[in-house]
Symmetry: C2
Subunit: 354 residues, 2 copies
DNA sequence: CCAAACACCGTAAACGTTTACAGAGCCTTG
DNA sequence: CAAGGCTCTGTAAACGTTTACGGTGTTTGG
């Protein structure tokens, strides 16, 4: 299997030096005759420049990594969908890392930045540990974090405002007359888990509702897990009339279990998800969900990173994307569903901001 | 900003040659004392090997590309979800290309293989043109194609059997008593569009049903497009009693439009999708869909590629993944839905099958 | 007609590794 | 004690580019 042609091969065939070949290929000023010879030789040989050698010399790989917990989670997918075209347009390739939310894997990704196989990194960690912060401080390439990071961390940061998001959801349920509003959350040691849990408590307090520990159920951010959590919850507090789920997958699990248990949604139990993924619009019944702006966050993160890659230094920036409540059938019944279904437009009842 | 340490820095500090450093770092036999000195120096300096330089020398990037039409399409996502862990386990990074089904972009990806920034490529083209085949024949790195490719093409190939898949769907609808079975297809110049269209015709013939051109509607593989196509179809042939949609997105569009038109699903019109994506299980009503084994195809493709990357040469292989009909409410009514809803909760959760 | 200016080109070094080769030191053995 | 063999290490070349620098040949101007 003959090795591919290099600029040496071309130089030989065209009877010029490799420097001239390189100049021609990079469009630097060169005599017409030389250009012609080099181009001809390159064409005949089917030359393609070697990206690795180029990167070694130029210290740029034109690759950017995106690291997230789980490729299967539609919220990350929404980010990915926005990140991809932005990077592509700027001439960057996308390297995808799925860390399964394992801290060691995330640290690994940060560490591997030192290998310089990418020019920058967008990361959306579920947990942010001391180790994360240390690695971030020492990172050898620009990093943008999607998700909250302690104040003062010197890193570009794009956040959702899940606090306000939770409040939108709880207010909505309250305004529908629900008073036994349960929360089905993910692990409390994750960033979203913690903040959504806190926000739930606050929102109840502000509405003058009592905080009842029995109404809080911790599971994991997956459908099956969500279902299990809801089953436990129903057994413990049968009179629950609304479920606030920490993401759409949990909410889908909730719908599965409620259906199996013969509870009508939303008549008996109203359900709200978070993230407003495609699944929410497609589910049965369609799911009221708090959009935390995954797509916007992805786009913003990609743009921040590009800015830093292209521009020079600047202070780290923090961008917060506002949430939006999208009302569908799982809280508002068939009326909302019909509208949603027919128009496919977003019935976003964005309320007053917090 | 000081440049990171290289093996030269380490060699200097440890008082040995760069060859020794390299040997230590790669675990080649070396005197204990030297190992100690090198390791100490590397630790103190926080050395991380440079992946680019390594690749240049070793001619291996430990990267693999996956090119597909659209990150947003859940069928590709299912593939991605399987491909990712297989590659990761083997120590490969994943470079993601989204080609928007633009032929020029796909050719570009094939061409860029010559740049040697990846060791191999998994590609799932919507169309396979002459240009594709030429580039494939000349490809400078192993390629696995997901999707059908002309017989005799010398390339590893993983296919769905959409022919049998379509037949399963048509037979199912027929057995439910439907006789005006329409097909809502994507463009006929795409590989899946063409084969699903053909298969539909054949299946009708084998059942002794007439082929009625009015019952075929061409749109595109997206939800909104699918909806438009179905609207036209309904206007033209109001007595249609079943829709076979060429993918789940089209089917979701169909559900939207049927609902808006006041047709009951499945009582008035039964709907079948293809690809059995997560959306099918979550939709309203849940969608009967033909699984074409996206996940299995992704896994098989990744394994084929790894085999070729690690092992030596071998004849190109062809793997065909059998389809499966997953019956849900959109054809079988509420009974199936209840059953499905409860049971899918287990199988669909993203985590456990990985 | 000579010098200076200019346009173009080739030589060589550099990017950070891996690795073939040979040299140095030491041990064994006849 | 000399020779051969071992083990370990250093030198240098190579991977395929880009680019600083200096050299050559031509043009231009005085």
């Amino acid at each position: 299997m003959a090795d591919g042609p290099t600029i040496n091969t071309i130089a030989e065939r065209a009877g010029v030096s490799i420097a001239s070949v390189s100049r021609v290929l990079n469009g630097l000023p060169t005599r017409q005759e030389t250009v012609r010879k080099v181009m001809a030789a390159a064409d005949e040989l089917g030359y393609v420049r070697n990206a690795v050698a180029r990167s070694l010399k130029s210290r740029r790989t034109h690759q950017v990594a995106f690291a997230m917990a789980d490729v299967g989670n539609p919220a990350y997918l929404a980010m990915l969908r926005q990140i991809q075209p932005v990077l592509k347009a700027a001439g960057y390739r996308l390297v995808l890392h799925s860390t399964d939310a394992v801290v060691a894997d995330e640290i690994d990704v940060l560490h591997s930045l030192g290998e310089r196989y990418v020019d920058g990194l967008i990361m959306s960690p579920l947990r942010v540990t001391e180790a994360h912060l240390e690695m971030l401080a020492a990172a050898r390439a620009p990093v943008v974090i999607i998700g909250s990071v302690p104040d003062g961390t010197r890193v570009d940061n794009v956040r959702a405002d899940s606090r306000t998001g939770v409040r939108l959801a709880v207010d909505h349920l309250y305004s529908l007359g629900r008073r036994r509003i349960a929360m089905v959350n993910g692990p409390l040691d994750t960033v979203p888990g913690a903040s959504r849990g806190d926000a739930y408590r606050e929102a109840l307090r502000d509405l003058g509702l009592p905080y009842d520990e029995d109404l809080v159920q911790i599971g994991d951010f997956y459908r099956a897990e969500g279902g299990r959590a809801v089953a436990e919850l129903l057994a413990r507090v049968p009179d629950v009339d609304a479920l606030l789920c920490a993401n759409d997958l949990i909410a889908l699990g909730a719908l599965d279990v409620l259906r199996a248990a013969g509870r009508r949604v939303p008549d008996d139990v109203a359900v709200v998800g978070m993230d407003d993924t495609d699944l929410a619009a497609a589910s049965w019944p369609s799911l009221t969900s708090v959009s935390l702006g995954s797509a916007e966050r992805g786009k913003a993160a990609a743009e921040l990173l590009l800015e830093r890659l292209q521009g020079g230094d600047r202070e780290p920036r923090l961008i917060t994307v506002p949430p939006r409540l999208v009302v569908r059938a799982s809280t508002a019944g068939a009326a909302a569903a019909g509208y949603e279904g027919a128009s496919r437009a977003r019935t976003d009842s964005t309320k007053e901001e917090a």
